[in-house]
């Protein structure tokens, strides 16, 4: 069964159809890549799926429930979280706090509970801190845990974003160019983490990525977008041999 079903989603800006009648599925437990040239509508589609942008038409179903009219925070709470193309580090907070913020169902985030049940709140916080430090270790930011997130480089911020979404204990993670700006060694490690997290926790991934070699190696399904439309979807091998894909990237030769 598909974890995410996108059906006939359309959205225009002015006269331009950024997303035009797009339909595709993301299978549970898969790593699905969304590729396409610049301006194909990938990020707009991400924004629609995560609730940051409203579709004019079409539906988005996540784990059997329609989510296209839900607020972003409710979609995130349901287990569908996303990262942004430019990482959104909370610069004046520590690296650790950035990850702690993502702890799900934290009683301490209710003002009443802070005073009514301080002990529960504190024990939840220390549990969250252990998990946050573990995740920071995973992306090799553990030594910078107490630094301001604003002191991190662009690539490190991407890794911080990754640790942060993992902290939410999601079912589906949308990654917008997770490898861009990350040095190649770290990028490869990040990809290994993605594969590992999928394997160990059964988390599903949908990612936008420009490094096609990487995409072809790691993903189970590749969805190709061009000019707002879904051109084709299939296994990396199927997509690679599809002439329309080559045309979209290199320009039509007809």
């Amino acid at each position: 069964m598909s974890l995410l079903e996108v059906r006939g989603v359309t959205r225009s800006f002015g006269g331009v159809r950024a997303v035009d009648n797009a339909s595709f599925d993301v299978a549970a437990g898969s790593i699905t890549a969304l590729i396409g040239p610049n301006g194909a509508g990938k990020s707009s589609l991400f924004n629609i799926v995560s609730g940051f942008l409203r579709a004019e038409r079409g539906s988005v179903t996540f784990a059997g429930r329609t989510i296209e009219r839900r607020a972003p925070h409710r979609i995130a709470q349901a287990g569908l979280v996303r990262t942004f193309q430019t990482p959104r580090a909370l610069t004046k907070m520590s690296v650790l706090e950035n990850v702690l913020l993502a702890a799900p169902h934290h009683p301490g985030e209710r003002l009443g509970r802070v005073f009514a049940t301080p002990r529960t709140t504190r024990s939840h916080e220390s549990g969250a801190e252990r998990e946050a430090r573990r995740l920071l270790k995973l992306v090799r930011l553990d030594r910078q845990a107490d630094d301001y997130a604003g002191t991190l480089s662009g690539g490190e911020r991407k890794l911080l974003d990754f640790a942060r979404v993992l902290m939410t204990e999601p079912r589906l993670i949308l990654l917008d160019e997770p490898m861009a700006g990350v040095n190649p060694t770290l990028g490869r490690q990040l990809l290994e983490h993605i594969v590992e997290v999928r394997g160990k926790r059964g988390v599903t991934f949908l990612l936008i990525e420009h490094d096609l070699d990487l995409v072809m190696r790691a993903s189970d399904t590749v969805v190709v977008m061009n000019e707002g439309r879904i051109l084709t979807a299939g296994t990396p091998d199927e997509v690679r041999s599809d002439e329309r894909v080559v045309d979209a990237y290199l320009g039509s030769h007809t």
């Binding site: 995130a76 004046k92 709140t121």
Partner: protein, 321 residues
């Protein structure tokens, strides 16, 4: 005017600094932590003071009950302000909040029968009536003075205001240090990021506004009790900006910076009254009153030039992007 003022005068300065501490804490929560530019914070002070006074004088409700109601009404006003405006962008939100505080002030100015109009609370029970809203408070203050063996009413007020400020400061410190406070700060930093991690940004902003409303109302209560009389003029937008000065002077997003900022601001504000040495003595007292405001401005500019992060802020935070 003498260079050395009486203890009474400095007690008064201390009381006002205490009121500004409570009031400024509201700005700290909303602006320092949540990033909400509420330029109408004084409205909560006005609503707190007026609700307490009106209910006490006109409905025969006990003053303490009226004070609790005043805080409740202020929270309602905060929610009423926030529901339609919090979805606006920061700058538009700031504009609507200043309009909100002016609406409150103009209502107080023009609804004579309810508020006493421009003559203030002296006119609250109608012309010629001497009914006051603070008889209960005066009795309470005298009793506390007896318990603590304090020399004067001013000293008692000083103790009472600062006790309240201290309690609120501790409670707020606990709240803001908690994960709840962390969510507020994340909204100040980047509300889309906070939403993407499952935080209900709108709800937290409303909560922040409501907490600010409580603090504003409590400051209003003390204001009313200290001065025993007030009018709409006391709640001009300038009061809000004084509170911002206090917060920025102390350092944003630091709870303990607020009382220090309030004291420093109080000392500058009151201390400049005693500038009767050259070159200030070349001017007459009326001119000096204006000159004083200019001097306050210069002092604040110099302070900000040397410590843009405020007395307790961290400089590194100012350069991070």
């Amino acid at each position: 005017m003498s260079t050395i003022a009486s203890g009474e005068f400095w007690a008064f300065v201390g009381v006002v600094a205490g009121i500004y501490t409570i009031f400024g804490l509201g700005v700290q929560v909303q602006f320092g932590y949540t990033g909400l530019l509420n330029f109408g914070h004084v409205a909560f002070m006005a609503i707190g003071a007026y609700t307490m006074a009106i209910l006490t004088v006109k409905t025969g409700l006990g003053m303490w009950a009226a004070a609790v109601c005043a805080i409740g009404v202020s929270i309602l006003a905060g929610l009423l302000l926030g529901l339609p405006t919090l979805r606006l962008r920061a700058d538009y939100f700031a504009i609507t909040t200043i309009a909100f505080s002016e609406i409150v002030r103009y209502v107080a100015l023009n609804e004579d029968r309810l508020t006493g109009g421009s003559q203030g609370t002296i006119n609250l029970a109608g012309a010629g009536s001497a009914v006051q809203y603070d008889e209960t408070w005066q009795r309470f203050q005298t009793r506390v003075q007896g318990w603590l063996h304090l020399g004067s009413k001013d000293a008692t007020m000083l103790v009472l205001v600062w006790s309240a400020a201290l309690v609120l400061l501790i409670l707020l410190h606990m709240a803001l240090r908690s994960p709840w406070g962390r969510v507020l700060r994340s909204i100040r930093e980047d509300e889309d990021a906070a939403a993407s991690l499952g935080k209900n940004v709108f709800s937290y902003k409303l909560q922040s506004l409501a907490v600010g409303a409580v603090l504003g109302a409590i400051a209003g209560l003390f204001y009313a009790w200290q001065f025993r009389f007030f009018s709409p003029d006391d709640f001009a937008p300038l009061v809000t900006f004084f509170a911002y000065t206090v917060v920025i002077l102390g350092g944003t997003a630091r709870t303990w910076a607020v009382p220090v900022g309030a004291i420093v601001f109080g000392l500058i504000f009151a201390g400049t009254r005693f500038f009767d040495f050259p070159p200030f003595s070349y001017f007459d007292s009326a001119e000096r009153a204006y000159l004083r405001l200019a001097v306050i401005g210069v002092i604040l500019i110099v302070l900000m030039a040397f410590r843009p992060q405020g007395l307790f802020g961290k400089r590194e935070e100012m350069v991070l992007e």
